[in-house]
Symmetry: C2
Subunit: 439 residues, 2 copies
């Protein structure tokens, strides 16, 4: 006799992303209480499980929801704002003057817009570091996504706090408000070795350890960062972190473009993770992170989009495509980052980086965070290997269903938790507000 579950989803293909990277044809997944109850051939799943409803997703491929390990959600409000300018002009004349005046409402609306884009394009969990993070948490709570969130920790006065030591009570209040939430985890997000002094870095890391939370920072994003770190501390960024005792499996290092041969074994030995953001690194002319060398050294590399001001998209399908193609061309090795590796970076590896083992693969007992990619689009046909289609050919716009913790957030053009027309009207107002604040 079949056991009861809440919903069965069936599709032509399903990529489990389990240890064997099993891809199942004519597959189904049974969902119960927000978790995967079963996954396998449709005939077997339907023989063992009964649900009030079966959704047949046709010629699509079910995948674990993608996980974005780096971003600044509310920066969607700056998407495409005067972006072909020299970096310092762009920052000082356009981004900084507006950022200094940011309000809680703008952060909330920008975060909700980011959430809508991520839900639309198949991202089910993301990591965020910005200002007024409480507002981002409210948006995540409302829209049903999953996230690791924290206010940026740095010694620069801005709209959310003016004296560096004011950040600690903000973080304590945030943790008190959101710890224990089923989908939101507080994280400790230092900005960088250049904007966060050593004592703040250490206190952020120690708090993360005490709270059993993620510790994250931008690291080695540019050659200039390395040069300044050598000047100020006599060590390269990774060595600076190690000297402070801040490299461990709790640490998520974002960018890691400017690594040298000594940095790689240092990071690998510590068990720290890397968030690779290829599009942002290209757009800001930071360079190309040595991902094949990181992988060869044994470092766990995950994928991130960075903020929409420097990408300009939060679509992880596009990011997977860049990760898979870029390193082949730069290293002249057609096997540098295979499609399977790029998909791992956006799923399993990301779950490892966030220490959230219920995510990143579809197997009994894991979270029912999943998406369906519509392979019936002419640009995704024929299908020899759905993983190749997902990485090399797909765009997030071809996602037709997004589910988090067993709840459908998007399906066939319909957002279940966000009133998109109303949000887009409010975003037009935000854009006018931003324009009025440009220098």
């Amino acid at each position: 006799m079949a056991s009861g579950c809440d919903l069965i989803l069936a599709a032509r293909w399903l990529a489990t992303q389990d240890d064997a990277r099993g891809v199942i044809e004519n597959a189904a997944v049974a969902v119960k209480d927000g978790l995967v109850a079963a996954v396998g051939p449709r005939s077997e799943v339907e023989a063992s499980w009964s649900a009030p409803k079966t959704l047949d997703l046709g010629r699509s491929c079910i995948l674990p929801g993608l996980i974005n390990t780096h971003g600044h959600a509310a920066m969607t409000v700056f998407r495409g704002l005067e972006d072909d300018l020299p970096l310092m002009d762009w920052l000082t004349k356009h981004i900084f003057p507006v950022e200094r005046q940011l309000t809680r409402e703008v952060v909330y609306l920008g975060s909700l817009l980011a959430a809508a884009e991520m839900i639309r394009t198949g991202t089910t969990c993301f990591t965020d570091m910005y200002l007024f993070e409480e507002e981002t948490a409210r948006a995540v709570d409302a829209c049903g996504l999953r996230a690791v969130l924290g206010d940026g920790i740095f010694a620069v006065p801005q709209c959310a706090y003016t004296r560096p030591d004011e950040v600690w009570p903000i973080l304590a209040d945030f943790a008190a408000a959101w710890k224990g939430h089923p989908r939101i985890r507080p994280g400790y997000m230092a900005h960088s070795v250049y904007l966060t002094p050593p004592d703040m870095l250490v206190r952020a890391y120690e708090t993360a350890c005490r709270e059993e939370a993620l510790f994250c920072l931008h690291l080695a994003e540019t050659r200039a960062e390395t040069d300044n770190c050598l000047r100020d501390y006599g060590r390269r960024p990774a060595a600076h972190l190690e000297a402070l005792g801040l490299l461990s499996p709790r640490s998520l290092l974002v960018h890691c473009v400017d690594l040298d041969a000594a940095d790689l074994p240092l990071i690998a030995a510590s068990g720290a993770h890397v968030s690779h953001c290829p599009k942002s690194n290209l757009k800001l002319a930071s360079g190309v992170a040595p991902v094949p060398a990181m992988r060869a050294a044994g470092i766990n590399v995950a994928l991130g989009t960075d903020g929409a001001a420097s990408n300009n998209s939060l679509d992880l399908f596009s990011e997977m495509g860049f990760a898979a193609l870029l390193h082949k061309g730069v290293t002249l090795d057609p096997l540098a980052v295979p499609a399977q590796t790029a998909l791992d970076m956006a799923t399993r590896n990301a779950a490892g980086a966030l220490a959230w083992p219920e995510l990143g693969a579809l197997a009994p007992g894991r979270a029912a965070d999943l998406i369906a990619l519509d392979l019936a689009e002419p640009g995704l046909q024929p299908v020899y290997n759905p993983v190749s289609q997902a990485v090399y050919a797909a765009s997030g716009s071809q996602v037709l269903l997004t589910m988090v913790a067993g709840k459908i957030l998007y399906r066939d053009g319909r957002f279940e938790t966000i009133d998109l027309p109303s949000l887009l009207r409010e975003i037009e107002g935000v854009a006018a507000w931003v324009r009025a604040r440009l220098v």
Copy 2:
């Protein structure tokens, strides 16, 4: 009193791609007899023109249709076929054995699938070089796209002809059948300096001149090509072409990855054009073409996807994104290829490369080849600059209307000239045929 036209299209934004790169807000375009009759602010266009119907495309941006200057349409049938392999294994064990057995029917269906993908993703004109090109022409004729087409000219026996001299009557028949077609132009497509001997190159070029048609070939795709050309002819590929007298504004040089400082002024002085295919060059680990240096030398650079076996997509929005981002990261110059330049490469520059001046911009008297990009998607909001959205943030899946020569080929999920469900069923059969022929 208003003049009559066939249709008025209105949209929130319109990027003309005219000489001034004018972007019009609350715009309209009047279409008459397959041409643009007027373009401007909606109020002005509607005051001067009356049509039986006005299509309001809402919060979208009308753009000239994108032009793909390099591809092998029928290779869609190999999309994602065992693609993470060393290049020679992939070619010799997977692609070549099947290609040798290609039939006219497979080429027709593969070309029609490519056409469906291009129509869906906003490409209105493409250049193609493959085998049984007559079948590709039939597909283009049927689906309403615009194209420059020609059988590959090379001295390698394959399915379409076994002795090199058999290609000339094929080309003559093709020209006789299609010359004068309103949307199809025959082109003379030599394969490369390594598969096409000098006498064939010269005859191809001379035929192109006599027929006032495009002359095209793959050039300097890899370092190995250069090494072999130096060994066999004592000159680098570009110099080899120049010595044979084959560099002129009629010549479209595809790839140009391995150019040196002497090649650049040689190509620039000749007026030859370059088709840049960044994704294919990355995927095949050929390297990164020196596009900023080409532009600085004054070379007209257009964009191409190459075939779906080495991309794996024909979506020019994705290709524009790579072109705009890749060179910034590789040259460490955030201004290397601005968004406007990437859009030019896929429109105006491409029209120049194909010597088809009616294309590539929207202005009175130009062809009514246009697309509408849906900027109401959350990932394309807010809109400060629609050109930035098109290049950095959009995917071709966000195109909601594609028109060629005044005829709507796609709108809101509906293909007007292709029976997609029936085509996808036939493509499943082709995929089975391909699988059965793998070594």
